[in-house]
Amino acid sequence: MITATVIIASSLFAILWTIVSKGFSSLSWDLISKVPDGGFYIGKSGGILNAIIGSIYITIGSTILGLCISIPVVLYINVYAKKNSWFANITRLTFDILFGIPSIVYGAFGFAIMVYFGLRTSLLAGILTVTLLIIPILARAMDEVLRLTPNELSDATYSLGGTRWETSLILLRQSVPGNLTAILLSFGRAIGDAATVLFTAGYTDSIPTSLGQPTATLPLSIFFQLSSPIDEVQNRAYGAAVILTVIVLILSLASKYFSKKFSKYKI
């Protein structure tokens, strides 16, 4: 067990060490505040602001959209439907299957739909495809959290004359910490996934100003720069990886902080 723990911990440090040591030299204010200049990919100046903003747009958009779909589903199968009804079981099974589908398949699916409608790569298509990717993660994690809320709590709100909707609100409130973790999980998955956005969001050097424009993303920015033969560009890829990791780290710490704050009244 100790060996396993050491392996896990040391691989985390190895990853961090690799990206920081290789990417540190290229980290600069320019990197995060500028879009690529002409010749950026052969080592000229510029930054990856386009990819940072693009990733944030896609992640926030898809998380909000994902929540709009998963919250009602999860509340339905936990509060509105009877316990262990066949509908709830089928829904859970569906999410489990969707959960296991590789992200490249979502990317290909999104691409196929776009081709069918004659659409070009765009921020919107990226958001929609990433939403598909994270819904099973969000819904299944929130489902587990809601299932763990004690029956007595919903009994209590029902006994006070609460409706199912009012009970849902109490259960959501009770499970805020767990739900934040669920959101963070899907956020991390959305921001770090390259395969879904490869065909759907495209890649561009400018920051998108509307949903119809293509957008760059951090994972693809890393991918394209890393495949360059030029050392400087490769190092910038590691720099981008550092930025991606830092964003995820900040989110993770923020969710810890907020879940503590929100669970103040929780028993």
Binding site: E152, L160, I170, Y265
Partner: protein
């Protein structure tokens, strides 16, 4: 045993859960403004019976309920009955207290707010009234905005009782409400029950015979889903007519 105008009358109630016959031909009258206790060994159906009274059992799948539960003569399982109205008439105390995830004040104000009381002034009065009613006011008046998680478990149970009373029910259902509490807290809850029966009908599930004797006016003894004996407390506990009741009271079966 029957009463002329019982608060709750259970008629020919049969409950099946997943193919098991949990409650068999239950017929009881629960008298108004008295304490009626359900006793019996674990698994005998007493909690199930309690939960059929406020329709909390409906939420599960594979539950089949036949028969009638009449509340003041109205069948709560009839079509078109508003379940939330029925439940609002019955406060529930569960085995372990579960305060809502909000402040002490909001816990009490939650029910009244659901039912239309929104003015802060009115809510302040309600909160103080019911917290005083369960002798919790002096202990928490300085931290009404604080978390109920910091209260002792006995205080939490009294908070839950006050929360239930604040929606002005007619009946209080207690599902072994003292089983998680220490002796002192248990005693306080029992004293509250004795005060409350002036205004409310109480139905308790308990597995502690001494508690049943201390607080209840009537006792229902259940065994394997059937009512074995129903009568005044002293009669059932001291002079049981049925052999099963005798054995249970003496401690041969549990």
């Amino acid at each position: 045993m029957t009463f002329d105008s019982p608060h709750i009358r259970v008629k020919d109630l049969n409950v099946h859960i997943g193919g098991n016959h949990i409650l068999k031909n239950i017929n009881i009258d629960i008298p108004d403004k008295k304490v009626t206790s359900f006793i019996g060994p674990s698994g005998c159906g007493k909690t199930t019976l309690l939960k059929t009274l406020n329709r909390l059992l409906d939420r599960n799948t594979d539950v089949k309920i036949d028969g009638q539960v009449l509340l003041d003569g109205q069948d709560i399982y009839a079509k078109g009955v508003e379940v939330t109205d029925i439940r609002q008439k019955m406060g529930l105390l569960s085995q372990r207290p579960f305060p809502l995830p909000m402040s002490i004040y909001d816990n009490i104000a939650y029910g009244p707010r659901l039912h239309g009381t929104t003015k802060k002034k009115d809510l302040d009065i309600i909160v103080e009234k019911y917290l005083r009613g369960v002798a919790l006011w002096d202990e928490v008046k300085d931290r009404l905005k604080g978390s109920p998680a910091r209260l002792s478990i006995g205080q939490q149970q009294r908070l839950c009782l006050a929360r239930g009373l604040a929606v002005e029910p007619e009946i209080i259902l207690g599902d072994e409400p003292t089983s998680a509490l220490d002796p002192v807290s248990t005693q306080r809850i029992e004293e509250l029950f004795l005060q409350l029966k002036d205004q409310y009908t109480l139905v308790l599930v308990t597995h502690i015979l001494r508690q049943a004797r201390r607080v209840s006016d009537y006792i229902v003894f259940l065994y394997m889903g059937e009512i074995i004996e129903f009568g005044p407390t002293e009669e059932v506990l001291l002079h049981p007519k049925e052999k099963l009741t005798q054995e249970y009271v003496k401690g041969y079966i549990s």
